[in-house]
């Protein structure tokens, strides 16, 4: 893990609890993410997912621990780490296109105006936005279109790592479906690494190579790392037919429904690190076996 593309080492976050003491969101959390991986993180509200993401983005400093990308500790935000925020991340006084060129101009300062615009239009087109819609202000776009602009802005900058905080949280199921496919389309064929927060189990299974499961806070842990053993390209309607789909889904539901609470609130010994257990569920290996095979490997 120490030589992963992104390595999170002994990350600890504490906040004052408002009563003079402090409470620990998570402590000594450690995990790694490989280059080109698509990782989703699932956990109950308030467990600290956004806190982790803001630290990865460099927008906030952890109480303890380091995050290394390509072997170097990160400090502060960087154009190498693009962020799609859940809300309000578009600048409302700029048109959709200008919101994207804003980012591209910052990323490629020596490009010509025309180059910047062409590049931005190309990425808006990839997420299904073209024509006069790109000249409208965010307030004149639907929620789905706004989130598309936001995704286009992040991908147009071609960051090494993309951080998405519940990008589809505010969207209806139909729009979600379309944008999820667009997201996969933009991501596949790049070597970009994606770290995404979501509340939606099916979305996580559709998108991710690996799902990190967090226990409830305070003192949350990244307890498991579940591999999604469903081959790509994945299509929403087809993957539900795959023998692993429901096995994985059940495992996730079990975790979020029961074990996330049971495992919560454990304090740790001084200097102990908490790495997630790797869980690999693959029924295609042994289709006769009724029980899903659980191979718990300590990483």
């Amino acid at each position: 893990m120490a030589n992963s593309f992104l390595s999170i080492e002994k990350l600890t976050q504490r906040y004052p609890d408002g009563k003079g003491g402090e409470f620990t969101v998570f402590e000594n959390a450690s995990f790694g993410i490989e280059k080109g991986e698509f990782v989703c993180i699932l956990g109950h509200s308030g467990c600290g997912k956004s806190t982790i993401m803001n630290i990865l983005a460099g927008l906030s400093e952890p109480t303890g621990g380091v995050v290394k990308m390509d072997g170097f500790a990160i400090s502060g935000p960087s154009l190498d780490r693009g962020v799609v925020f859940q809300n309000y991340s578009l600048l409302p006084w700029l048109t959709a296109l200008k919101n994207v060129t804003f980012g591209v101009a910052a990323r490629f300062p020596d490009w010509s105006k025309q180059q910047i615009e062409d590049h931005s239009i190309a990425f808006l087109d990839k997420v299904g936005l073209s024509g006069d819609a790109i000249h409208r202000k965010p307030s004149q776009l639907s929620g789905g279109m706004r989130q598309r602009v936001s995704i286009a802005r992040a991908f147009a900058n071609q960051p090494k790592l993309l951080l998405l905080d519940e990008p589809f949280g505010a969207l209806d199921a139909l729009t979600r479906g379309t944008i999820q496919e667009e997201l996969l389309k933009v991501w596949s064929g790049t070597d970009q690494t994606v770290f995404m927060i979501t509340h939606d189990i099916d979305e996580a299974i559709l998108l991710a190579d690996r799902i990190l499961l967090m226990t409830n806070g305070p003192l949350a842990r990244v307890a498991e790392s579940v591999e999604i053993t469903i081959p790509r390209p994945r299509v929403r309607t087809d993957i539900v037919e795959h023998p692993n789909y429901y096995a994985i889904r059940n495992h996730l539901v079990q975790f979020l429904g029961k074990r996330s609470a049971e495992l919560a609130g454990q304090t740790s010994e001084e200097g102990e690190t908490h790495s997630p257990e790797t869980v690999r569920i693959d029924k295609t290996q042994d289709a006769v076996d009724e029980q899903p095979i659980l191979q718990a490997v300590k990483t």
Partner: protein, 278 residues
């Protein structure tokens, strides 16, 4: 009537009200002049009768307006200048004082809005200085600056600075953290962030402050010019009052209103340009 749009109906009402108002004014003046009758010797001496009889009907004001506006820029000595020249002087003073205030208030407002230390450090001064009537500065300004023109400009400066300063600070402090984070994740420097994110985000609030300021400045310039004299619309009103030329007084009051309205409308236009919907 129902075929007409709301705006058209409102316009008809406005015009009707205008004519009713003018009519009542005209009627009451002619009734008054008839009633004046015999004046006692005392009334003649104090000029009471003359002043009363001097309130002109709208028709006279209209004639006066026509004369003045057909030749607004004549200059026949210190006490006889066209209305255009007088208003020009006033606008020049207002704009000079106003822009000096803006140059200081907007950057300072940025500082106060961005840094809570700066806010806390400067707030006591602002709270004490802000409620002071701008005209209260006049004697001090005249004494220190020794120049009536510059003193008037200073008074405009001091009265326009507060709304701009406070609104800028308020607008800048209220910029959504998400937008600032967008700037941070794009590695924009402090100046780039200030100009491409904070300024447009706070612009509606800042321009509102600027609009309030220009309104106050225009209110204050009339009083300031009455005090310092020489030129300007405020001096003109006072001078015509001394000449007991009430027709000119009423005409210039109207002109003050019209210019104030135009200044406000200009900022209204700017406000619409920088507005955005979240």
């Amino acid at each position: 009537m129902e075929l007409l749009s709301e705006n058209k109906r409102a316009a008809i009402w406005s015009i009707a009200l205008l004519f009713v108002g003018l009519f009542v004014w005209e009627i009451s003046i002619s009734a008054q002049t008839i009633n004046t009758g015999e004046l006692t010797e005392y009334e003649l001496l104090t000029g009471a009768g003359t002043a009363k009889a001097g309130v002109p009907p709208p028709s006279e004001v209209a004639v006066k307006a026509w004369q003045e506006l057909s030749n607004p820029f004549y200059d026949a000595g210190p006490n006889d200048k066209g209305i255009g020249i007088q208003i020009g002087y006033s606008i020049y003073r207002v704009l000079t004082g106003y822009f000096l205030a803006a140059i200081i208030a907007i950057p300072l407002g940025f500082l106060i809005g961005m840094s809570s230390v700066a806010y806390k450090a400067l707030n006591p001064f602002i709270q004490v200085l802000r409620p002071i009537s701008p005209l209260a500065w006049m004697p001090l300004a005249l004494f220190i600056i020794q120049d009536s023109e510059a003193s008037a400009i200073f008074v405009i400066f001091i009265c326009s600075i507060w709304p701009m300063l406070l609104n800028t600070a308020f607008g800048v402090a209220g910029v959504r953290i998400d937008w600032v984070n967008v700037a941070r994740t794009h590695e924009l420097g402090a100046f780039k962030t200030a100009f491409t994110v904070v300024l447009p985000a706070a612009a509606p609030t800042i321009v509102t402050g600027m609009r309030i300021s220009i309104g106050i400045a225009w209110l204050v310039i009339v009083a300031a010019e009455m005090l310092v004299g020489g030129t300007g619309i405020g001096y003109y009103v006072w001078n015509e009052w001394n000449n007991l030329d009430l027709t000119s007084v009423i005409f210039s009051i109207l002109m003050i209103g019209v210019v104030g309205m135009l200044l406000d409308a200009a900022f209204g236009l700017l406000q619409r340009r920088v507005a955005y919907v979240e």
